[in-house]
């Protein structure tokens, strides 16, 4: 009964939820496993601080929240501060390295950073930073397969933006693979 709890945290507008959707869709539709995504907003539906919780498991998911994630993905300093205490003792941290400085990292935690915003800016759209992070996640963890992730990605982004997003995903994926390889 394998189950992975993932928490993705960031700010409204960073596309936190969409990155959760891509992961969940990849797992539950294209990898044939089960996934439950929970999203949380700030006041009413306006955005601001924002996070997603994804559980990916072989069996159907009962309790839908991720109290202690196996993997924490953070795209803002606030999210890091807020969620780092909840990360599992041996958990994995993935972070946007220009926005987050992982201080007081609990011992045992493995941490990988990526300059996702700069990569996104290089690709011409700051907004794809979340897709870079998704690729990074796939590259580092392998929790979702590359094929499934790309399919999920392509079925989730607006028409006409496919190649931009695929590029962003791949940049993140490769950055992840290379960090893991180096580690």
């Amino acid at each position: 009964m394998v189950s992975t709890g993932i928490r993705i945290g960031g700010l409204g507008g960073q596309g936190v939820i969409l990155s959760g959707i891509i992961l969940g869709k990849a797992a539950s539709i294209f990898d044939g496993r089960n996934a439950t995504l929970i999203q949380a907003f700030g006041p009413e539906a306006r955005g601001s601080a924002c996070s997603a919780q994804v559980t990916i498991a072989d069996d159907p998911v009962a309790y839908p929240y991720v109290q202690n994630p196996d993997v924490l993905v953070v795209m803002s300093a606030d999210a890091y501060t807020q969620f780092i205490p909840t990360l599992k003792p041996e958990g994995l941290l993935l972070y946007e390295e220009e926005l987050v400085t992982p201080k007081d990292l609990p011992p045992g935690v493995k941490a990988y950073g990526i300059p996702a915003t700069r990569i996104a800016e290089e690709l011409g759209r700051r907004l794809v930073l979340n897709i870079v992070m998704v690729g990074f996640f796939a590259g580092v963890t392998g929790v979702v397969s590359l094929v499934a992730a790309e399919k999920a990605l392509l079925s989730s982004v607006p028409k006409g933006t496919e190649s931009l997003n695929l590029n962003a995903f791949r940049r993140g994926y490769e950055h992840g693979r290379s960090l893991v390889a180096a580690a």
Binding site: G20, I21, G24, K25, S28, I29, N34, A35, T36, L37, I38, Q39, A40, F41, G42, P43, E44, A45, V61, A62, Y63, P64, Y65, Q67, A152
Partner: protein, 385 residues
């Protein structure tokens, strides 16, 4: 009758509960939605607004919930299957029209995506604290049907069921979602249209002269018509006779209100839909509904892992309350545990059904998130002692 393929998005999707409920409505034949935005329910109507032009029908965002809830009733008599969607504060504004829908026997579906209350409360966070409101929130005596999905798949399935029951009994039916179910995203399988059973409106076959719009058929439910068919009906929120004409006497009140009530009360057992799991021979039975049932599941599994005999009864239909079945289950166990995201609502019904035969332990929660499974587990352990 099976579903109109136009509205059915057959396939495997990764949808949140709000979107899934919208697809359920479209599959059920809903072709008219009047709404007013409110977190965390808005996605339902947003999707409907997006989808309906290609399906054929109308979405209109009204100026407020008062309007949204009665515009839908106008559309019923224009012949459409209809729905409105809201959350607590909006629901509080719909209470008068719930009564109108009820007394005029207008088939219609209300979706309530519950958030933390009272008042503006916690707009983006979950609760299950409107459960009593839908049963008692409008003045006067009335009965409704309320369904409680616990996943996006059930948001789809039970929305269809809600429409079907509403047509069958000509009664407002509530889909009691909550913020977690509404915003939780999971795989949703939408079957072929031909596999989806749909209850058609009970159109009268009678000619204008013979038709009495509020004359009950054998099952207590009158056949319907719509405006424009020559039946020249009168529909009023006043107490009325079988012709629909105002009849302002205690006698007509008794006749009308009892018939309306009994449509549901007499069929409460048939309407019961409890998903039971290991209840026979259990020491403790957990009675839960909606999102809480998934949290309770975790707790129940943990309790079983500790060697306890714990059953789980999940109310898919919360109203009419399954008194008979819960009373029966009480004879099978030594205690019941009722977790809810409120300070005690359905637990009152459980207590009443159980009538003192076993202890009933509430696991309450003020809302804003779901229970910690541990809290429910603790209560199960306490009950088992």
């Amino acid at each position: 009758m099976t579903a109109d393929p136009k509205g059915v998005l057959t396939g495997i999707h990764f949808l949140d509960g709000d979107h899934a409920a919208c697809e359920g409505a479209l599959a059920a034949g809903c072709r008219f939605v009047s709404g007013y935005p409110i977190t965390p329910s808005t996605e339902v109507v947003e999707r409907f607004a997006q989808r309906i032009p290609m399906v054929g029908g109308v979405f209109i965002q009204m100026e407020d919930e008062l309007a949204a809830s009665i515009t839908m009733l106008g559309a019923v008599w224009g012949g459409k299957k209809v729905m409105t969607v809201t959350s607590g504060p909006g629901l509080s504004l719909m209470m008068e029209h719930l009564g109108l829908a009820y007394i005029t026997e207008a088939p219609c579906v209300f979706i309530d995506v519950q958030r933390g209350g009272p008042s503006t409360g916690l707009p983006t966070l979950p609760a299950q604290a409107d459960m009593m409101q839908v049963k008692w929130g409008s003045h006067g005596d009335y009965e409704i049907i309320a369904l409680c999905p616990n996943s996006p798949q059930e948001c789809f399935d039970l929305t269809i069921k809600a429409f079907n029951l509403s047509e069958q009994w000509r009664v407002p039916v509530f889909l009691m979602m909550d913020e977690v179910v509404g915003h939780m995203t999971e795989r949703v399988v939408i079957p072929e249209a031909s596999e989806i059973e749909i209850t058609e409106r009970r159109w009268t076959k009678k000619a204008p002269g013979d038709y009495r719009p509020f004359e009950a058929c054998a099952d207590g439910v009158p056949a319907m018509t719509k405006a424009g068919e020559g039946h020249r009906i009168h529909v009023t929120g006043l107490t009325h006779d079988e012709r629909g004409w105002p009849a302002l006497t205690p006698k007509s009140q008794d006749k009308l209100i009892r018939r309306l009530t009994n449509k549901i009360r007499d069929n409460a057992d048939a309407l019961t839909d409890i998903r039971e799991e290991e209840c026979e021979g259990a020491d403790v039975i957990v009675v839960s509904y909606g999102i809480t049932s998934r949290v309770a599941s975790s707790a129940v599994l943990q309790a079983r892992a500790q060697g306890l005999k714990v059953g789980h009864a999940r109310l898919v239909v919360a109203w009419p309350f399954p008194t008979t079945r819960i009373a029966y289950l009480a004879t099978q166990c030594r205690a019941m545990v009722v977790p809810e995201l409120n300070l005690g609502q359905m637990v009152h019904e459980v207590s009443r059904a159980v009538a003192g035969s076993v202890p009933v332990l509430l696991v309450d929660h003020a809302g804003g998130t779901v229970h910690e499974p541990q809290v429910i587990l603790d209560r199960i352990l306490e009950a088992a002692r």
